[in-house]
Amino acid sequence: MGTIKIYWALAMASMRARLQYKASFFVLVFAVTLFYAAQLASLFVVMSSFKQINGWHTGDMAFLFGLLTFSLGVTTLLFNGLQNFDALLINGEFDRTLVRPLNPLAQLMFSRFEASTVAHSVIGAAALYYGAKMSGIVWTPQKAASLPFVIVGGVLIQGGIRIFVNAVAFWTLRNAAIVHTVVFSGREFVVYPITIYNAGVRFFLTFVFPIAFINFYPAQFFLDKTGETLFHPALRSLTPAVGLLVITISLYAWKAGIDHYQSSGS
């Protein structure tokens, strides 16, 4: 209980620090909103020309995008503290978290909260809402109850991936390229239904780098895409389980990374 209070205090302090720059905070919210709106716009440009991608129509695509972007917003809110982690490592600031009687990862997470990520979530929620409406999703109780679990699962997958790629920095020091590739470019794969890729890549996005569970498989479930089944229909409801798996693996990697850091000093 006491521990939760400590992290809460950390998070609030980081919020207050952030709000020292109020103007830039609001500009940032605005910019992030426009950035994702531009992404959504390019999706609409494609859909205006081609009408559908492998049977996914504009509403379906918006829903797919919404699941991805909404959970991205929550992920960024929680894991923003890991941004530029390699710089903390290189300039020695990470040491500070090690001389305190708290968990280093939790200290990082809670010490640079970024509230401007509401922008992702707003765009994501709007895309989810209109996507669901356009594609005429029938909200059965089962679907409505599943949505939060799917979001949490998506957050765990993305958060786990961030922890994992930052753990890599314990060995390589500079990890900006891998973060960029895995966290930001990797996401590009699942803006579109993964059925557009060859079998190898579908396998990769399902079983190796399982980001298809953030949006593609659950969207199949919500949109009742019974016509297409990849691998196994059960995958549609596995997002929370995959999330737990990913976060567990990544925490092991993080632990190994800290051990390595403490023995190599770099």
Partner: protein, 263 residues
């Protein structure tokens, strides 16, 4: 600034990029992801739509995608450089150096981009040319090279101008993000302008963005009749001139602000 000094700056910033080998391999992969995602996307939708759309065939859209992507990768620039130097005050060191700040930054940017051209652009182009059978027609090459140089200058100047905002704003990340949003959507690096609804296309031609990736890519892939290339080059040059003037004015104002208020 003498050409020799310019090249020295180019070399130093090129070398700075080599220092981290792990990054290097990852960055090639990063570039390839985009090529792969978009070629897969176009194949799927073109196959469903009968193989042609907006003047493209499956083959020509893939050529366009690969070429535009390679140009985009080769034009990588370091956005954080100037804002970082303004924030920690080291820009005042640049002020007392007897070289042009703009040219020095251009030189550093060229070194940075040259690394990305050789280390990422070329391998990705070679691999894609082999995988997807991309060919670049030779007759458009002279015009394409001019167009590429102009496009590079234009992107550099847009980035430079945005960076200079650091003189007035503590945090310029929002502007950088905004710029990326616009470039991703409107510069033709991911989507050719031909796919935009006809109602918005005239609007796009009044903006500088399509001259960054779209113009050089359509010339390179031979989608522009040789007679039309000079018109495009002239438009590109006009935008370069406009941003050169804008950035010079901003640089002067920023420098004065620094000198008078001490940052």
């Amino acid at each position: 600034m003498s050409p020799a000094l310019f090249l020295k700056f180019v070399e130093v910033s090129f070398r700075k990029e080599i220092a981290y080998r792990f990054d290097y391999f990852v960055m090639i992969l990063n570039g390839f992801i985009y090529v792969f995602v978009f070629t897969s996307l176009w194949r799927t939708v073109f196959a469903a739509g009968g193989g042609t759309f907006g003047g493209f065939t499956t083959k020509s859209i893939i050529s366009y995608t690969v070429v535009a992507m390679v140009v985009r990768i080769s034009f990588s620039m370091d956005d954080g450089l100037i804002p970082g130097r303004v924030r920690d005050g080291s820009v005042s060191v640049d002020l007392i150096r007897p070289v042009s700040f703009q040219l020095m930054n251009l030189a550093q940017s060229v070194g940075y981009s040259a690394f990305h051209l050789f280390a990422r652009g070329l391998p990705i182009f070679v691999a894609s040319a082999w995988l997807f059978g991309v060919r670049v027609p030779a007759e458009g090459l002279p015009a394409a090279i001019v167009s590429l140089v102009l496009a590079y200058l234009l992107l550099f100047l847009i980035n430079f101008t945005t960076s200079l905002l650091a003189f007035w704003f503590v945090e310029i990340f929002p502007f950088t993000l905004l710029k990326y949003g616009l470039i991703n959507l409107l510069a033709g690096g991911l989507l050719p302008m031909d796919f935009f609804p006809t109602s918005v296309r005239p609007l796009l031609s009044y903006l500088p963005f399509q001259h960054i990736f779209y113009s050089p890519s359509v010339i390179l892939t031979g989608r522009v009749a040789p007679g039309n290339a000079p018109v495009i080059l002239a438009e590109q040059a006009a935008w370069v001139a406009a941003f050169a003037v804008l950035s010079a004015v901003m640089w002067r104002a920023g420098r004065n602000k620094l000198v008078i208020q001490g940052g």
